[in-house]
Subunit: 199 residues, 2 copies
């Protein structure tokens, strides 16, 4: 016996999600069958909405319902700073901090020679255009991940933008707040010593 077709289809859909294998997908599918109807229909609608209502902001590349996005359209944001991130979710993470009041730019990826991703494959040209069009921008803060690819992308942007007289900065490296020196890896310790600040 096969599962009834709607069940098989739902298991298959759950298996498309990262980290979910056949067993978990089956468990989730049977759980879904027992969920109340409204919750399931809301779930289905939320999925459809991501494809039908969400778009990328034509200025910064962040996901948004309105174009330009709420951040780009907000005159109260500090127009002199652009913080560059790899993915839309990084914007949400930075915003949680509630301290940064500037603008964003989403690259939708990083430079990765291993995967054949060059400067033309990520959202860099539109960043250049923003900088050319808008003379208020004084600083570009590169907030790519602390990975080799993130580092390479940061270096690339610094070399590209500094000759144009724009200040390019990177997020500090060091110990995570609350972490033990005992458990820090060597590279992190090295960066923490290198970037030490006076008290």
């Amino acid at each position: 016996m096969q599962y009834p077709e709607p069940v098989a289809k739902l298991i298959d859909s759950y298996m498309h999600l990262p980290g979910i294998g056949k067993k978990t997908a089956t468990r989730l599918a049977f759980y879904t069958i027992d969920m109340n109807k409204d919750d399931v229909l809301n779930f289905a609608e939320a999925l459809t909405d991501t494809k039908e209502k969400l778009k990328f902001c034509s200025i910064c590349g962040n996901i948004t319902e309105n174009d330009p996005c709420d951040i780009c359209a907000d005159p109260n944001r500090d127009q002199s700073k652009i913080l560059v991130v790899e993915q839309p979710k990084d914007v949400a993470t930075m915003e949680k901090m509630k301290d940064y009041k500037g603008l964003y730019h989403v690259l939708h990826g990083v430079l990765s020679p291993m995967e054949g991703k060059g400067p033309d494959d990520i959202n860099i040209s539109s960043l250049i255009q923003r900088l050319q069009k808008n003379e208020a921008i004084q600083e570009v803060i590169v907030a790519t991940n602390a990975t080799p690819e993130g580092d390479a992308t940061a270096m690339y942007l610094a070399r590209l933008l500094k000759p144009a007289g724009i200040k390019v900065t990177r997020l500090a490296r060091g110990l995570s707040v609350g972490s033990d020196i005992e458990y820090a890896d060597e590279m992190t310790l090295f960066k923490a010593v290198e970037g030490r600040t006076e008290m």
Copy 2:
């Protein structure tokens, strides 16, 4: 900044699933945004279908697209045996074994005094009706889980059905195939010794 509304809604929906907290839900939502449109719309449709196309078989209580379900409607199944399980997913699990050719009955729960679940709260009365209507049935195999509630439900069914002259059996207890005696718990070892078979 809040997430755009469709993203917030999707995170919320993912959080309805068991074992998925806010962080995983957020990760899944952003993953979904990057998935291709067809996969997401299929996923949404699969969810809707579970509520719109699936129903419970009026005979055995299993989930099905057609009523009666494929198993109840199949004249080639052994009409003399009914295997009683707790949940629809247990039917699917038993069917994977490919050896059992009889019919099923899904209780949709177990007796649980702790949760205030008595015989009227699970699908027992329809089992009695099936047995009364169909004289071909000779054996009821109780395949509830090996939990206190599953055991209690099995005992209840045995006491209820045996006086009517129906053979009531339970799945064997013992060592899992491939398991080490070293790691078996005492109850399982006790049941394995008790149920030992001659070679």
